[in-house]
């Protein structure tokens, strides 16, 4: 109990400046994009139930919450746009044209949005204030994952067919390094201290660990889920706890979330979740991990400390992405 409180206090200390207000304990809202449902489901992480599902554009996948928790950015790929919703009223407040956006990430200060435009081999930089594109950076074929370094100085885009993690200088608007990783890299995530970049390769079946300074692959994490064929293990979403000690990796059709010790890269446990698990999100207090299951139309709630799946919450049709906002 005491450790939990200390942890919460330290998180609050770290995150001050990122969020405009402190949140009431444990009360957060998670937003889940339903790829086929053309909707977003809001989920109360206190009561652990879905509270509302509202219609958005076509084929929503990538989703992010603004740093102050007031806005939702939703990639609606088949509408070639990013829609902006008020996170409280869930009303549409804006639309930014962007060809086939799939994933996006915010700069640490929330001023910029980086969007992967899958069909055009581009990463677009968007000013969140004016909602206008600031620039475009050419990357490899089918950019998908977007990650921003904790200091905001590097943006990484993963290209699914080129099989690279492209290091982008967002100010100069150009790629500064291109690191070859295993096939079909879909998601990238920096460790909270910025010392490692983790890239998941859906088809390669591994996580490539990239040294962001030397910009080379320093290690790989592969998975061996008992009783499953290797081909079924397809890592996608990655999340890490605020203390940077534990990582969670969604393994797609393996229907598991791997729990990994970041320091040793050892896999502690495979948690059985729903089918075709795509993206993950932690509540800001690291109490719960939400795993979005595309085939079973639900979200598995994982108790982070206990490393246990608590329950599954039905959401919309073919859920894909998830982001959490303070309530």
């Amino acid at each position: 109990m005491q450790t939990a409180m200390i942890r919460r206090a330290s998180i609050a200390a770290i995150t001050v400046g990122l969020a405009s207000a402190t949140w009431p304990a444990l009360a957060f809202t998670a937003f889940i994009t339903n790829e086929k449902g053309n909707s977003v489901t809001a989920l109360d992480t206190d009561r652990l139930e879905a509270t509302r599902t509202f219609a958005v554009g076509k084929r929503p996948r990538g989703i992010a919450v603004s740093r102050d928790g007031s806005q939702l950015y939703v990639c609606v790929g088949d509408d070639n746009a990013i829609q902006i919703y008020d996170a409280k009223s869930l009303q549409l407040t804006g639309r930014i044209a962007s060809p086939d956006p799939e994933q996006l990430a915010l700069s640490p200060d929330g001023a910029r949005l980086y969007v992967a435009n899958e069909d055009d081999n581009l990463v677009t930089v968007i000013d969140t204030l004016t909602r206008k594109p600031l620039g475009r950076i050419r990357v490899g074929v089918e950019p998908e994952g977007v990650a921003v370094s904790p200091d905001g100085k590097i943006v990484v885009s993963t290209s699914e067919t080129t099989n690279m993690a492209h290091f982008i200088d967002p100010v100069a608007e150009k790629t500064v390094a291109n690191v070859l990783v295993a096939p079909r890299p879909r998601y990238a995530q920096f460790t909270p201290d910025g010392s490692e970049l983790w890239v998941s390769s859906e088809v390669g079946g591994v996580i490539s660990i990239v040294d962001p300074i030397r910009r080379s692959v320093t290690g790989k994490i592969s998975f061996d889920v008992p009783g499953l064929a290797k081909e079924q293990t397809q890592p996608v979403g990655i999340r890490m706890t605020n203390d940077g000690k534990t990582a969670f990796v969604a393994l797609g059709p393996a229907n598991r979330v791997a729990v990994i010790d970041v320091a040793t890269k050892r896999i502690e446990k495979y948690l059985l979740v729903g089918q075709r698990v795509w993206q993950l999100a932690l509540t800001p207090d690291d109490r719960y991990l939400l795993a979005v299951n595309g085939l079973t139309n639900d979200v598995s709630v994982i108790d982070v400390a206990a490393r246990k799946v608590l329950k599954s919450i039905p959401v919309g049709s073919s859920p894909w992405g998830v982001a959490v906002a303070p309530q």
Binding site: L18, S149, K153, E160, A177, N178, P183, S195, E231
Partner: protein, 396 residues
């Protein structure tokens, strides 16, 4: 109010030198040795395009070149189109003389073998993107010949698994009168034996020659097909083996009994279909259609695949050397993404690319094999086609 976030951010500084390897510029020329397929198809929708296979290879080269921008590699496509009467060896020699060592081939099996053997003394490596003959993967396999196209046995097994999963185990096999039709029929017989289906009867549709189209139209076919299929023992599904496009297209809706048609018409096992959009395939379909203004079909997709195999091996080995590329493709490290829901790898014993088989009805993808429950000790993809213990291939 913004407080500078996280002390640790200082660890990541842009002042660090950028250590991307300064690779020497490398140009990799890849030949496309192809003989156009017959344009006599039953459906006008299936008439192959003039640039079939070449277009797929060019799309692949484009994808390789995007990667190449970051690795300093340029991929060039060299078209070597030949007629049915042209000498294959001359075409191979010409490619070799112009410095080409990597070749994508869409030729009939015997001519493929001729090309491969002719290119061998010149250290050429070939990827078969067209011929489905099992013999090329079995008794006639070669150490410098890879196969991006699925073998007949893989296609037949892909379909058979689905039929067995559906409990449609009683098959009426109708085959054409050409040697390839018999080879395909044999693949279906093997699949039936392998997965526990039963061929209740076999019929032959004899090709009497002549054109496909006439002003007389459908009236004759409507009478012909019921006669061909009448008085059959009870069956669940009609399996058609017609590689020469002589009759299978006429079977659906015209059989004596009301039964689904599969195989060369109806539900067709294939490596690719314009209707395929799972696992990000839409991206590839869009890229192709944008450039070539037509849908992406199996033969072009197989050539794309072959080009990507060469590209992936060249990127990973940072080499244009045909030996290094072949060694890498044959090694256990080689794996490639191809919008099929899982990685594709190469069977080391006969250099065949492992791949899921799509089952397409011409409008949608009905299913993708391997089917659930067909298990294998190394890769479920090896439930499709001839497996290592039964191979006759001795690579040399």
């Amino acid at each position: 109010m913004k407080i500078v976030p996280l002390l640790v951010g200082a660890l990541l500084t842009l002042s660090a030198p950028i250590c991307a390897r300064a690779d020497e510029p490398l140009t990799i020329s890849i030949g496309v040795l192809r003989q156009p397929h017959v344009r006599e198809t039953i459906s006008i929708l299936d008439v192959p395009a003039e640039d079939e296979t070449l277009a797929g290879a060019e799309l692949g080269a484009g994808d390789n070149n995007t990667t190449g921008e970051f690795t300093n590699q340029t991929f060039k496509t060299i078209d070597a189109k030949i007629g049915a009467d042209d000498d294959v060896r001359t075409a191979v020699a010409r490619l070799a003389d112009s410095g080409v060592r990597l070749v994508i081939v869409d030729l009939p099996a015997d001519r493929f073998l001729e090309a491969v053997d002719a290119g061998r003394p010149r250290d050429m490596v070939f990827i078969n993107s067209g011929a489905t003959d099992d013999s090329l993967r079995e008794q006639n396999c070669r150490a410098n010949a890879f196969h991006a196209a699925p073998a007949r046995s893989m296609l037949a097994d892909g379909l058979a698994q689905y039929l067995v999963w559906k409990q449609w185990r009683r098959w009426l096999l109708v085959k054409g009168s050409h040697p390839e039709d018999e080879a395909l029929a044999q693949a279906y017989r093997n699949s039936a034996a392998k997965f526990g289906a039963k061929i209740v009867d076999e019929r032959v549709f004899t090709d009497t020659g002549g054109g496909r189209r006439s002003d007389t139209g459908v009236a004759q076919t409507q009478r012909l097909i019921p006669v061909l299929t009448q008085n059959a023992p009870t069956y669940d599904v009609l399996v058609a083996a017609d590689e020469s496009e002589v009759f299978a297209g006429y079977l659906p809706y015209r059989t004596w009994d009301a039964r689904p048609v599969v195989g060369s018409a109806g539900l067709v096992p294939t490596s690719w279909d314009p209707a395929h959009e799972q696992w990000g395939a839409t991206q590839l379909q869009n890229r192709f259609e944008r450039i070539f203004k037509r849908p992406l079909r199996a033969r072009d997709a197989q050539a794309w695949m072959a080009m990507r195999m060469f590209g992936e091996a060249a990127t990973r080995t940072r080499s244009a050397d045909s030996k290094a590329i072949a060694d890498y493709m044959a090694s256990g490290d080689f794996e490639i993404a191809a919008f099929k829901g899982q990685k594709l790898t190469v069977r080391p014993w006969n250099l065949q690319l492992r791949q899921p088989i799509l089952l397409a009805d011409g409008r949608t993808i009905v299913s993708v094999s391997p089917q659930e429950g067909f298990l294998h000790q190394t890769s479920t993809l090896d439930t499709l086609g001839k497996d290592r213990p039964e191979t006759k291939c001795k690579l040399q």
